[in-house]
Amino acid sequence: MNLMLFGPELYYLGIALVFFCLSLRRVPQVQLDYQIALGLSGVGVLLTAYCLFQQGDLFFKAYRVDLFSQIFKFALALGLFLVLTISHNLAQIEERYHAEFYLFLTTTTIGMMMLVSSVELLTIYVSLELSSYSLYILVPLRRGDGIDVEAGIKYLFIGAVSSGFMLFGLSYIFGATGTTYLSEIMPRLSQLVQSPVGLVGLLLTMAGFFFKLSVFPFHFWAPDVYQGAANQVTTFIATASKAAAVALLLRLAALGTAYGYGFTQALVVLSIASMTLGNLVAIIQRDFKRMLAYSSIAHAGYFLMGVLTMQESGYIGSIYYALAYLVMNFTVFMVLSEVATDGRDLKIAELAGLHRRSPLLSMSLILGIFALAGVPPSIGFTGKLLIFTSAMNQGYFWLVLIGAVNGTVSLYYYLKVIYAAYFIDDPGLPPVKLSLPIRLLNYAMAAIIIGFGVFPDRIVELAKAAVKSVL
């Protein structure tokens, strides 16, 4: 067995151990912990990048390492690193819990890394739970006035229910096919096209990931958790966690190819419901994070649109968009957490005068928001276009039309954010001070958003190579 195949996971396990030891100290050393976390996760990004082209099977073929999984592992490592870069100021988390904060962020990352490599149902379930349980702890870690507890309980309950759905679905699939390996399930399911057992099982199994992606009707947790959790935790849930969910949905949806119409129609309905509901409700939100929660529900609809094409081009679009979403959503959250230095929940109106308080942040905000809205020349636009193109190629004319109309609707609330930042001015609000690393991060994010939006070819080719191992 080649150790490098499991290298990233082992490495992050090592980080988790380090922080476990650090969390045992009686006197917390906040600054030191932060530097260790940032340094270690930075090395982790390089390591996953180095492992990008590893190939192989592990653990009785329950665990596959290929380009598809490695791309997402890289994304997860990057997500963790980015979240840590904005964690220099964990105002809302008690100091003695800082080491635990890093510990659980690392374990959830390990869980998700294992998740994207799993090709066996039980491994998938165990990895999913590993990542979920860490998040269940992270959400109520915030020092709050009860809202954190509400968020935590809601997240736990809805997560548990969707886990239940998923187990139920897994039992159907296992019962119908007699195996837990995805590669063996695929041919056996196609023999069962006549009976609905496989279809129901598959959809129920996917429910676990609908929950993570906050697809309608598993979206109820999103607004409260986004608002209730500490800004950094929300950032992680909104970026890395979504990427992992998309990866697994792509893997599982490939099983449904045999079911054709019935299966895709179910996804079409979910996709339309998600994006319409998310966009319409987002319009009336005043809290920035709640608005972003509804925007993530709407984006879940776009992701599903790529998934349900069941075609190479749609999968490419989804992978591209998942990576793009990670970057652009992070950019917005970065602005949010830099403006809300004391870790409070930010109202959209509190962005007032940002163009004066910090021109750099307001530039990042504009780019991030326009990218989320799908305005060119940003990665958000290119990703959306790739997904729409593949959906149209499969003949989903109405779906694309509804998606495009939704894009218009969403622009309204995205513009309200820009309106607040650019137009309203509140002289009472002080300038926002940025440290040098954060400045560099701003420039890097802006360059990525524009650069890969205009030159998407490299990513598309990479995604194309990755998709081969899934479909």
């Binding site: 163009h355 060119p376 729409f388 149209m392 190629n393 004319f397 039309l401 495009a404 820009i418 137009f423």
Partner: protein, 477 residues
């Protein structure tokens, strides 16, 4: 040409807000280079050879058939020239801007990059990409530097245009996926021969989608409000150039790719265009704000463009493209002079201005020239353009032509009354102390007037250029 504005934009990003003169200078230089290159392409374009020239083509995303494909032909060369002139004079016009200068010019150059891109792209992906780049900065430009109900106007304009995009994307993708070629290259798609049903659906979606930007009645309501709210140079760019993107896109994408769809919907196009002409004229008459007057006259002039397109004949298209050019220059002149007057007096009310010509003879002369051009006085560029369109329309849609001409004649009479009321009545004593335009600030307006007369006296320059590609264009349909 496509590179100059983004380069200027990049330099601007690294300048400080305090270095106002440097910021303006950099913008002016990049606009000047753009204008120079536009003139260069216009003059050196080989009319005898025709077709696509100055082509640049790179493979962009192979998997999805996206190529970077830009070029110049007779249809877009005049519009490139127009954009060059308007951006150059636009930067000069905004020379006096004091507030948030850096951001202003950054957004303005971004917008211009988009405009050039749309005019030159032959790949639908890039066409749409640039289209949006041109449209989106408007929101911020109006919101921050605008006047008169700017929040409402900015939001309305953006939502209208984005709703248009909501129709355009599915329309474009429908053509892309039904062609079976998996390419966004328009020239290849043109050869794909879509089924009539697809063409009809796609055409109407694209027509309405782009029609929003071209202010086709009944989707025009954002346009007067937007023009009024926008700062001067943005009004110039917007009415002068951006609206042309809409009509140009109808020509380049909708008519080019769906000829049968066009035949099917031509009647409707003509009807909407005529309604727009008549409506624009009569609503414009009732306005007392000079910018509203211009805004509604734009609606009617864009109606003429659309009417020319609807005829689908050589003369009609010639006139239509010519009208895009002439109207662009003319409206830029309009807004430029009104902007100047407004900056001084803070009013645009016709009656309040009274006999403004006695106070600022030169500034008023600019406006009056534009008004005469709008009324279609011979010797100006738009005279020839309108003439061509109406000749063509009489052959194809006689009733609509008659209605439109009648409306324009009435409009011309009333335009003269507007001029009389605001410039030749008794002067308003409040404004007596104002000084007239300085030669430097007058320069942009002089350039615009020069262009109007140049192509008014030598329309053959323009018509022969447009013809080189209109004829093959129609044969291709």
């Amino acid at each position: 040409m496509l590179l100059a504005p983004p380069l200027g934009l990049l330099i601007l990003l690294f300048l400080k807000e305090e270095q106002k003169f440097l910021i303006r200078a950099v913008s002016l230089v990049s606009a000047g280079i753009t204008l120079g290159l536009a003139i260069f392409t216009f003059v050196t374009y080989d009319k005898a050879l025709g077709g696509l020239q100055f082509v640049e083509k790179y493979e962009w995303v192979k998997t999805f058939g996206i190529t970077y494909f830009v070029g110049v032909e007779g249809l877009n060369a005049p519009l490139l020239l127009l954009t060059g002139i308007v951006i150059f004079t636009g930067v000069l016009t905004m020379w006096e801007l004091q507030e948030r200068v850096k951001e202003y010019f950054i957004w303005m150059l971004a917008l211009v990059t988009g405009v050039f891109g749309v005019f030159m792209s032959y790949d639908m992906f890039f066409f749409f990409l640039f289209y949006e780049i041109a449209v989106v900065p408007m929101y911020i430009l109006i919101l921050v530097w605008g006047s008169t109900r700017k929040e409402y106007a900015a939001m309305k304009l953006t939502l209208y245009l984005m709703a248009g995009s909501g129709l355009i994307i599915p329309g474009i993708l429908l053509l892309y996926s039904t062609s079976g070629l998996y390419t966004f290259n328009m020239l290849q798609l043109h050869a794909a021969h879509f089924s009539p049903w697809i063409q009809k659906v796609a055409f109407i979606m694209l027509f309405f989608g782009f029609g929003v930007l071209a202010a086709v009645w009944p989707f025009h309501t954002w346009s007067p409000v937007g023009h009024v709210a926008a700062p001067t140079a943005v009004s110039m760019l917007h009415a002068g150039v951006l609206m042309k993107l809409g009509s140009f896109a109808i020509l380049r994408v909708a008519m080019f790719l769906c000829p049968e769809g066009f035949q099917y919907w031509a009647q409707l196009m003509a009807l909407l265009a005529t309604t727009g002409i008549v409506y624009g004229v009569f609503v414009g008459l009732a306005q007392t704000d000079l910018k509203y007057v211009i805004g509604y006259s734009s609606v009617s002039h864009m109606g003429i463009v659309c009417l020319g397109l609807a005829t689908g004949t050589v003369d009609g298209l010639n006139g239509s493209v010519f009208q895009m050019f002439a109207h662009g220059i003319m409206t830029a002149l309009f807004f430029s002079s009104v902007g100047y007057i407004y900056d001084r007096t803070h009013t645009r009310d016709i009656h309040e201005l009274g006999g403004f010509s006695k106070i600022m003879p030169v500034a008023s002369a600019f406006f009056i020239t534009a008004a005469l051009c709008g009324a279609g006085v011979p010797g100006m560029a738009s005279f020839w353009a309108e003439l061509l369109v109406f000749i063509a329309t009489f052959k194809v849609f006689p009733v609509q032509a008659l209605l439109a001409i009648a409306a324009l004649v009435v409009g011309a009479l009333f335009a003269l009354r507007v001029v009389q009321n605001s410039f030749f009545n008794a002067p308003n004593p409040k404004f007596v102390h104002f000084e007239d335009v300085s030669p430097f600030l007058g320069l942009p307006r002089m350039i615009l007037i020069g262009a109007l007369f140049l192509f008014g006296f030598f329309p053959q320059f323009m018509v022969s250029m447009i013809k080189t590609s209109v004829v093959p264009f129609l044969q291709g349909m």
